[in-house]
Symmetry: C2
Subunit: 228 residues, 2 copies
């Protein structure tokens, strides 16, 4: 048939060859994906029309519905892939830290595994810089269905919560959970607009380009908050 997103879509790449399939044939799909991610991150989901996306990508208007089923489907697929990548990188760092320290990594290393991946992506020289902004935006502007997934799927946070509970055995579990919540709030606030706002407030003292310095600042703050 023609439209892969109608009735049991034949030969669905199914999340695995997505990265490879951008060879030549489905270049259109990759271009739509990239353009949509960029525009969604910069202007928000509702403020970007399908026509904006296809114009930016230089493809036909019908491409979005052909390759992704719908505009919602496009948003969801970008979100699923990016959060998957981010969570995998975080889990890998946490796992490596656990290997280094016999299964019970110290507090700072747990927090580093939580903070570093999105910050490394946010480096101005990193092409994934826009992906972080997309994720942050999508978290609050996403579809209702997306927010349902977001609310119920906390599996990737389980490892971090457990590691923190182990690292701070003297702390009441609810305190650990709340402080993890605070740390997540710290990262979710790292949007372009907030950086600019801080830049204005500090009269140019703060710079949003040095992500390594920002990482250490966040670690200092959060680690002290957890030890309290």
């Amino acid at each position: 048939m023609e439209h892969p997103h109608r009735k049991l879509r034949p030969r669905e790449p199914s999340d695995l060859e997505d990265e490879v399939e951008a060879t030549r044939e489905a270049a259109t799909k990759a271009q739509v994906f990239a353009a949509a991610e960029r525009l969604f991150a910069l202007h928000g989901f509702q403020n970007v029309s399908v026509r904006d996306i296809t114009a930016e990508a230089g493809v036909n208007l019908a491409s979005v519905n052909y390759h992704f089923g719908s505009k919602d489907g496009l948003l969801f697929e970008i979100f699923r892939r990016r959060t998957g990548e981010l969570n995998r990188e975080r889990a890998r760092m946490l796992h490596e830290a656990a290997d280094r320290d016999g299964g019970a990594p110290p507090l700072r290393e747990i927090l580093r595994a939580l903070f570093e991946p999105p910050l490394r992506w946010s480096d101005p020289r990193n092409e994934r810089r826009i992906s972080v902004q997309f994720i942050i935006r999508a978290r609050s502007e996403g579809t209702e269905a997306m927010r349902e997934v977001l609310r119920s799927d906390v599996s990737h946070l389980r490892r971090f919560a457990d590691a923190l509970l182990t690292a701070r055995p003297g702390l009441a579990p609810e305190d650990v959970y709340w402080r993890l919540h605070f740390c997540l709030g710290m990262t979710h606030n790292n949007r372009f607009a907030e950086f600019e706002r801080l830049h204005v407030l500090s009269q140019g003292l703060t710079s949003e380009t040095d992500m390594e310095a920002l990482l250490e600042r966040m670690l200092d703050f959060a680690e002290a908050g957890f030890v309290a």
Copy 2:
């Protein structure tokens, strides 16, 4: 004339009698205001149509454009009033703390002035509960014009930055600014959805109803982070 938002609107209440004018005559305006704030807070700006608002308020469709000029104008007016109230309450608390301590309030009292107002509003028994959610949402989903104001107007944060710089003289100013940024991130993350998410993760251990306990938790965390 008929439409107050066309050409130099006659007898504009001008931000002062807004609270009083809800006597009888302009009950429609107040109902639109309340319905819009609630719907915007719950579903977002773009997901709520003017028809949704007027239906919820039980008034005519044209009321929004008559009383507020446009849908954007309505959003902006709600945002301006609510943020004004919040900033005034924060400034008042900071001022009182300064009076108590001879002009240089201790770190924890500064942070309390920053955290407490929105948390007190968030109390389930407080009718302003929805206003906090509205503010947080509007901060990231607002109009471009609104975001421009948001980025350039940092006057209400100046007092807090200065107070923090005074309270932590040994700290590099840029560290103070960054840590203030972290604290703001902590408050901005206090959305309903995030509370539910944490509730799921902690398997019911955390409760979003006890705002006083949450305030102390946030103060413990942030104060320790600032002392580090």
